[in-house]
């Protein structure tokens, strides 16, 4: 299976999980699908049969609200049975609305409150360096999460300690919970901010599998600097009527909307 096929499957699983669970955040989940597919298919060293292997690359979904897409990815990669996805957001399930490690193999960190993941990832990266280990730590953040002061505490820390085994990927879909980023708290000039904090920055079309692969296959971007990949993405990517719509941060696809979305995704 190539990363395009994996991305297609992740989207279909995610749509079904969110629809049947009556949950939200489909737009935020769809914008990271290619990033997850390329990471889990081609970049991350993972060992689904030995999920806690010390040699694995660590992955943190700091934007925990897109957890459905991560669960779908982990199931497709064999960390647990795909059937389990049907329990997402259901009574008694351990597949939470925000990504949680308890009972779920393959999740390195539980998140859900924004602005936590990069600090923990930086700690993991520092430990890796102290112990001379080769694994890398990937942290996927949202753009809205860059409003959090704690994110920038971690940005300062990682650069100061030259953690070039730490890779941040920002899902820059430019829409946050209630409105576009530019109308809420603008992040621009975004790339320059990271550069001025001494990170090595690359920008990429976050839905182009080849470009994502080429960029992520070449890390660190610069020796002795943490890397950040600003991925320009589209919220709700993959379903025409969800794309770039604030509405689909929270709206749950049901009935005809669900059928129409499924049809589009299956035709991709």
């Amino acid at each position: 299976m190539d990363s395009r096929e994996l991305a297609k499957r992740i989207r279909i699983h995610t749509l079904k999980m969110i629809s049947s669970g009556g949950s939200s955040h489909i737009g935020a989940a769809f914008s990271i699908v290619e990033i997850l597919a390329v990471l889990y298919n081609d970049i991350l060293k993972i060992y689904p049969d030995n999920p806690k292997s010390d040699r694995r690359d660590r992955f943190i979904l700091s934007k925990g609200h897109a957890g459905a897409a991560v669960y779908a990815t982990l199931a497709e990669k064999g960390f647990f049975n795909i059937e389990k996805l049907k329990t997402h957001y259901q009574d008694g399930s351990d597949l939470c609305g925000h990504v949680s490690h308890k009972g779920i193999l393959g999740v390195d960190l539980s998140t859900g409150s924004l602005g936590h993941g990069l600090s923990v990832g930086a700690g993991m990266a520092l430990a890796g360096r102290i112990d001379n280990k080769k694994h890398r730590v990937f942290v996927l953040l949202s753009d809205g999460e860059c409003d959090e002061g704690s994110t920038w505490e971690a940005v300062l820390f990682a650069a100061h300690h030259k953690l070039d085994n730490l890779i941040a990927i920002v899902d820059y879909n430019k829409i946050q919970s209630l409105a576009p980023v530019a109308e809420t708290i603008t992040l621009e000039p975004f790339s320059e901010k990271w550069k001025s904090f001494n990170w090595a920055v690359q920008e990429v079309d976050g839905h182009n599998n080849n470009l994502l692969y080429d960029t992520l296959n070449n890390i660190p971007f610069y020796k002795d600097k943490p890397s950040v990949l600003i991925a320009h993405t589209i919220k709700g990517k993959g379903v025409s009527f969800m794309e770039n719509q604030v509405l689909w941060h929270y709206r749950c696809p049901r009935g005809e909307e669900f059928e129409a979305a499924l049809k589009e995704l299956e035709a991709r």
Partner: protein
């Protein structure tokens, strides 16, 4: 307590290179020797407590035993959610240390009065909350938290009571309260350095023929239920003393145990801070007196409890 903590930690690091101490840019002069001797085990992370706790969790999840250190409410309240979601939920070996319990930094103002930390930290799931009463317990607790898996909160105080054990072989055990002085007319359960006041109150009572048992409840969570129940059975009257709000702290924890087991002491008194901030400042001793928590005030309150 701070010096005893760092002294014991320095000894422990020698045999355990996985121990890492992170400070949030506080502890002037305190860490000089530690940093020189163990440069790889020390990080000054800057004035960034949220990041300090998150980084500590990341290190701990990779096998380190990480102490986060700052003063007053900075390593606790400022980064409470990181302690809850990151450290506690992942059972990470993060040991949160605050120097300056209660009014240790009394003259610095309300930002530096650590007077709600115990109740807030105690309510977090899967955390151990330890508040030593003196130097001996501080030394013991430092070692105990290293050997106790998961997240711990260690509240250190500028003041200290005489908590030396009678039995030289006694070991500090998390969750095991210590009877520092036996007595039969009432039991005073205390946490933190305010033990020094309690010891004097107890002596005042003794001079009038009232024998009081002193229990050091150095661990608030998990709390030693047996020592509380036994105190009710044997002395019938319970007084709790803490340099902390009475809402949710030691007094609350003790009364929760009493209600859980339907044990009703004849009399119960919780001494601590009542509603409100202390907008006035002063030394720890001064503020204790101001809020009726000095030895004389504690004695007066116990005396009137026993008489009335």
């Amino acid at each position: 307590m701070r010096d005893h903590f760092i002294k014991r930690l320095s000894e422990l690091v020698e045999n355990n290179p996985d121990i890492i101490l992170i400070t949030g840019d506080l502890g002037f002069g305190v860490f000089d020797n530690f940093r020189k001797a163990f440069p790889k085990n020390f990080i000054n992370i800057g004035v960034a407590e949220q990041n300090m706790t998150g980084v500590a969790t990341g290190l701990a999840l990779e096998g380190k035993i990480v102490f986060t250190y700052s003063i007053a409410n900075f390593p606790t309240l400022r980064c409470l959610e990181q302690i809850r979601n990151d450290a506690c939920y992942h059972n990470a070996d993060v040991k949160v240390v605050s120097i300056g319990g209660g009014f240790s930094y009394g003259a610095l103002g309300i930002s530096h009065h650590a007077t709600e930390d115990l109740s807030i930290m105690r309510s977090l799931p899967e955390i151990k909350v330890i508040s030593p009463c003196g130097y001996w317990e501080t030394t013991g607790a430092t070692e105990a938290v290293v050997n106790s898996p998961g997240t711990c909160y260690l509240r250190l105080d500028k003041s200290a009571g005489d908590d030396r054990p009678v039995d030289k072989n006694e070991k500090f055990i998390i969750g095991k309260a210590r009877i520092l002085k036996n007595g039969f007319d009432c039991t005073i359960i205390v946490t933190g350095g305010i033990l020094e006041e309690v010891i004097n109150s107890s002596a005042f009572l003794m001079s009038e023929g009232i024998s009081s048992r002193i229990v050091s409840m150095h661990t608030l969570k998990p709390i030693d239920e047996q020592v509380i129940l036994k105190a009710v059975e044997e002395t019938h009257i319970i007084i709790t003393v803490e340099e902390h709000t009475v809402f949710g702290g030691l007094g609350s924890a003790v009364s929760e145990v009493l209600m859980k087991y339907n044990y009703y002491p004849k009399k119960f008194l919780s001494i601590g801070l009542k509603e409100g901030f202390s907008s006035i400042v002063g030394s720890q001793k001064y503020l204790r007196k101001q809020y009726n928590m000095d030895a004389q005030s504690i004695y007066n309150q116990i005396k009137s409890l026993l008489v009335n």
